[in-house]
Amino acid sequence: MGMMVFGFTLFSFFVCIADGGYEIYIDHFIRERTGHLQIHQKGYLDNPRFFTAIKDPKTVTDDLGTFSEIESTSSRIHFGSLSFFKKKTQGVQIMAVDPEKEAMLTTLKKRVNRGVYFSGSSGHEVILGKGVSEVLKAKVGSDIYLIGQGADGSIANDSFKVIGIIDHPGRGMDDQKVYMPLRIASEFLSFGDRIHEISLIVKDGTNIPKLKKKLQQKLGDGLEVSSWEEVEKDFYKAMQADKKGDTVARFILILVMAIGVFNTVLMSILERTREFGVIKAIGGRPIDIAKLIFIENFIMALFSIAIGSIFSTFLNYYFSKYGIDLATPIEWGGIIIKEIKGKVMLACYTTPSKIILTTTFFVCLYPSWMAMKILPSKAMRAA
């Protein structure tokens, strides 16, 4: 039974860290980057051209307002520009956001750790990623210049005050970015009311495919509604490939557990050969012996699940609260991972339970068959 308890606890912890860790990471990814769903002008996602823009965003956001499933939305413009500060220049990618809505949708406001977030004033304010500020040698309070192509063919050029810098360890997705208020970007680019993207967060993350379908029907063919997996399909494919690697690890874990349990069950039968012989000698049927073995081991499995659940709860809770700090943060998909944390979920109990019970069933088959075939005379001669 010890092997079963150990196996359950280990597998539960694996699910907590691996699956739970992925869920936490995806949640970060969604909150920091994509939102649950994004809306673009048709064709923008495959070929993000400047003029492939949503021309009437007000109608779209009004339509979105009729869906109670949506928690928050934020509009964005994406464009490139040349930035200058004193003698330094750098090409930058600019994301223009609605400051208030973006703060509700993503963690952008919290990520600004030097200076301040957008004040909502009409001033020309920008927030720089660490990489941009390092190349330009610009600090909070510096005035930088941006030159780009206006939507009316003009040369968009103006000065902007750096009000904040996103400066975290590692090179995350903010590193080479510049953030700007949406209204200021529209003026700078002579873009009018047009936007490139509406990102949205939903209240219940379990029903996204259904909502996506409903939104697409409501918004029509001119716009496309995409899930985060479609928006970041390269990253999603990489994540799926990584998860497949997990499958191998899980298989090995199950195999090790199964071998351990099998060994235990086999030994317990071999040690009771004489007893099984007696049962058969007094009229017990082979099927009764098989039933005995199965019931015995299933009861043991259930006890193992109960005890394993207690141990794994403590272990999983600890790692979900404190995690493992990484000495060197790692960057993946633009998100900086500073610690590995688990998540306590129902699957931490249901998955190992199913594995234990299934494994128990299969490992009992051969020993039961052996026990059924015991000859009473031979069994009782065994010492």
């Binding site: 003029f51 200058f84 210049y145 030159i147 192509q149 206006g150 939507a151 009316d152 063919g153 003009s154 040369i155 050029n157 103006d158 000065s159 002579s190």
Partner: protein, 202 residues
């Protein structure tokens, strides 16, 4: 002069004042629209600079940006810089003429660095004015056509006062340059073509 720029996505008209001395020196300043007023371009020999008064910045146009558009038009920076090299960097000969036009074929000399494989100029036999220029790339594919129209007297000279440039690979694009007034053979100080003048607020 006026420059009308049309693309499938937008349309705008620039009003400009231009000074030229020979073919080596050009100074252009934009008078309208308000958003672009004061943006100026200085060309001296093969060098070119733009000045943006809003940010008080002079930017030299690097060689890598020479094929880039000038102010969003179908003219490239290279068109403005290299206009003087036609005579010395191209070999020209008469091509097959027809009833109404002379045809002049200009091909770059072996040492000339240019994107054009050939330039064909049609000249009206009646008045001997160029009326069309067809630009071919290195694969001899037509890339753009410039038509010279509305020949009239301006500033004492008779010249085509409207130039219409159509890039053949960009559907819906067109740039039309109209000379609204001109003065020729006036003395222009070299200081007009200085960086100091470029940075002057107008």
């Amino acid at each position: 002069m006026e420059m009308q720029i049309q693309t499938p996505n937008w349309k705008r008209t620039l009003k400009m004042k231009v000074w030229t001395k020979g073919l080596e020196r050009t100074f252009i300043t934009i008078l309208a629209p308000k958003k672009d007023k004061g943006i100026s371009t200085l060309k001296r020999d093969n060098d070119m600079w733009n000045f943006f008064p809003k940010i008080n910045k002079v930017i030299k146009v690097p060689p890598s940006m020479m094929m880039g558009s000038w102010m969003g038009s179908d003219l490239t920076n290279d068109d403005l810089v290299k206009e003087n090299t036609y005579r010395k960097d191209f070999n020209s000969k008469f091509g097959v003429e027809d009833q109404n036009y002379y045809r002049i074929i200009s091909t770059p000399k072996p040492e000339t660095v240019t994107v054009w494989g050939k330039v064909e100029i049609l000249v009206d036999k009646k008045n001997e004015f160029p009326i069309k220029q067809i630009y071919y790339d290195e694969n001899m594919e037509k890339i753009r056509v410039m038509e010279m129209k509305e020949i009239k007297k301006i500033g004492g000279k008779t010249i085509p006062t409207v130039l219409e440039l159509v890039p053949l690979k960009k559907k819906g694009n067109k740039t039309i340059i109209k000379y609204t007034a001109a003065e020729f053979n006036k003395e222009i100080s070299d200081s007009v073509f200085s960086k100091r003048n470029l940075q002057k607020r107008r």
